[in-house]
Symmetry: C2
Subunit: 385 residues, 2 copies
């Protein structure tokens, strides 16, 4: 096990009716900006619950934050924050809204042009507004970490960033808010959470059993409960288990003292930025390709995953590893997320631009060994056609 430092001070209120707790969290004299996305929270009653919790607190609203939130949109919110002297941000929605709100929180106090945050991974953020979060889509884990991924529409750059200062102070997770999710978002969310886990797990063994076994536990929960959520969307326990597993998948616990891959995300981000696919769709495409391309290097962990999570018993190691990759692909398809570029109308001609974007962003050495070059990406994406 490698050395690590860990601290995660976000307070979680989990369960039915917890949205009312907003009033314990936000100071009575705050000036709140509620941020949200396409407006589903107006239809499913979530916004009404938020309004009720904010009784007697001054609030404003900023809607229209897109999936893969756009820098250009978020800067309008930053303007509103300054104009209305906002002192607290309340993100109500999924990971894109939470990520976008983190960007707003940091950009509000940024001395230079906040576009710089995208290209410096937010490392120069020195002050941020406090953030609360009402999560309505389990997937990104953004509700309990300091990560954000922001897309600059003008240049088609989708960039990750991190700051301790952008971590939500509190997050409310009410599984009932996920009952009305479209199947596509439910499926995407489960795939996203699974890929977060394996980016921190499917590398090489360093004898970190707590982290490994917990990763395997979360994978099992998501693989057992995911299909149930599609069939029985208002089953509370199913939704609750998925929601809590997705948070645990990326709250920092799994990455402690172990190597990380993250090549799947790095490649996937370029596909979303260039061709507009959902984030989880890109992950479902890239994961089997990366794992197949790096099967030899990842063999020990592929076999551990095959035995501990999938219950495979193949005697031949090579066959077992191959089957583990295929089973993972099948699971993504079962969740309604197609796993080949062709399923989204993309062919081999789509690959060079993806590779070029990686070069442009200096992502020249991906994966846990830093040995996946842009040339390798061009090769491995052929496995995803």
């Amino acid at each position: 096990m490698n050395n690590f430092t860990f601290r995660n001070p976000t307070r979680i209120h989990f369960g039915k009716g917890q949205i009312a707790r907003i009033r314990e969290e936000i100071p009575a004299d705050a000036r709140v900006l509620i941020t949200y996305g396409g407006g589903s929270i107006k239809k499913n009653g979530v916004l009404d619950q938020v309004h009720a919790a904010l009784e007697n607190i001054t609030f404003f609203e900023f809607g229209g934050i897109e999936p893969n939130p756009h820098f250009e949109t978020l800067m309008k919110a930053v303007e509103l924050v300054k104009q209305e002297k906002i002192s607290y941000l309340l993100a109500v929605g999924g990971g894109s809204v939470v990520d976008g709100t983190k960007f707003i929180a940091g950009a509000a106090f940024y001395d230079d042009d906040p576009v710089e945050m995208l290209y410096t991974r937010a490392t120069k953020v020195t002050k941020a507004l406090p953030i609360g979060c009402v999560l309505t889509l389990p997937a990104t884990g953004s509700e309990m970490n300091g990560n954000a991924v922001i897309t600059r529409w003008e240049t088609k750059d989708k960039m990750g960033m991190f700051s301790e200062l952008m971590r939500p102070t509190f997050s409310i997770l009410d599984p009932e808010t996920t009952y009305t999710l479209p199947a596509r978002q439910t499926g995407n969310g489960v795939v996203d959470a699974i890929v977060h886990i394996v980016e921190q797990y499917m590398t090489y063994p360093v004898n970190a059993k707590v982290q490994d076994y917990y990763a395997e536990s979360l994978l099992k929960v998501l693989m057992e409960e995911g299909p149930k959520a599609l069939k029985d969307p208002t089953n509370y326990d199913v939704r609750a288990n998925i929601m809590w597993a997705a948070t645990q998948a990326l709250n920092g616990t799994l990455s402690l003292g172990v190597p990380g891959d993250w090549s799947i995300h790095a490649i996937g981000h370029q596909i979303t930025a260039l061709y507009g696919l959902d984030h989880a769709q890109t992950l479902a495409i890239v994961l089997p390709a990366v794992w197949s391309y790096k099967k030899a290097q990842k063999k020990e962990k592929l076999l551990q995953y095959a035995h501990h999570v999938l219950g495979l018993t193949e005697q031949d190691d090579n066959m077992c590893a191959t089957k583990a990759i295929e089973k993972t692909r099948e699971f993504f398809e079962q969740m309604g997320v197609a796993t080949r570029l062709s399923a989204y109308g993309l062919g081999e001609e789509s690959i060079p631009a993806i590779v070029e974007k990686l070069r442009q962003h200096g992502r020249l050495k991906l994966g846990e060994h830093g040995d996946i070059t842009p040339d390798d990406v061009a090769e491995l994406l052929k496995l995803a056609l």
Copy 2:
């Protein structure tokens, strides 16, 4: 899954050489009190590392904190804190030192007689000194929670308490500091951590899969690595896995949204207070007795544990549950911790005083159903003779 609220802001520095990080954590102008136990930290080099990290910071020392730390001893430290205007406490040792230091932290600002903290579970603590921790014995989880158990020697009362204010600000976990632990303490630590896990797991199912599977993961880690630590005490990864598992066992993660038992601890505390057995020894005695006595009520989780953790395949449920209890007992014995009162020279005549202590402290309804009365305790302890 039941509703829950969770926040754990303690910063963990884990790994080799991390003791040096103290100087990043403690303000340069602090007046530090180092608290410790019997003095093993002077022999194994830990105190030297602490001194080096505190270069140019004013510090004092208070040693002699006992296992099951005594109120009477700790009050002497409180006096020193006031006299020397201490502003930061640094606990260096195992759970008893950390628990004792938490008590000192709260008692330093307590308006009334701090003995009251024992009988009010520290609920009236409104201010506490900041605490840092260098853990040298993985067992209690005290390094990442707000719990403390303090013994009042005069009255033989061993009492648990909790305060958010008594949570360590930071804790340093260097597995190398555990290389020199006596086998008895290694064994005790593993048993203690296991019982923490099952107090939060071996109840009845509420379909909280994340918590259940994580509990099972941690049990597996401790059962796989525990015996290795006895055979190969300087194996870094073995020590690291045990250390991190023990912290996770009681940092609040496992108890979220699930019922708790805690009868094993409640009964065990009285045995320690009255007869001076090690904490883990009492747990190893009481656990098989409670599980056997409540086998019918706990059957579903006993079977889940039997299948998921122990890999038992008995067809007959009753036999499988019985075997799960026996295997657990065998594991404790394998760790060098005897599981019967008689092994410690205690017979049936020892039981009435234990039961009387529970009555005296108002612990009249123990267990996840609140249906273990003092009369039940008298009965079930006969199974532990």
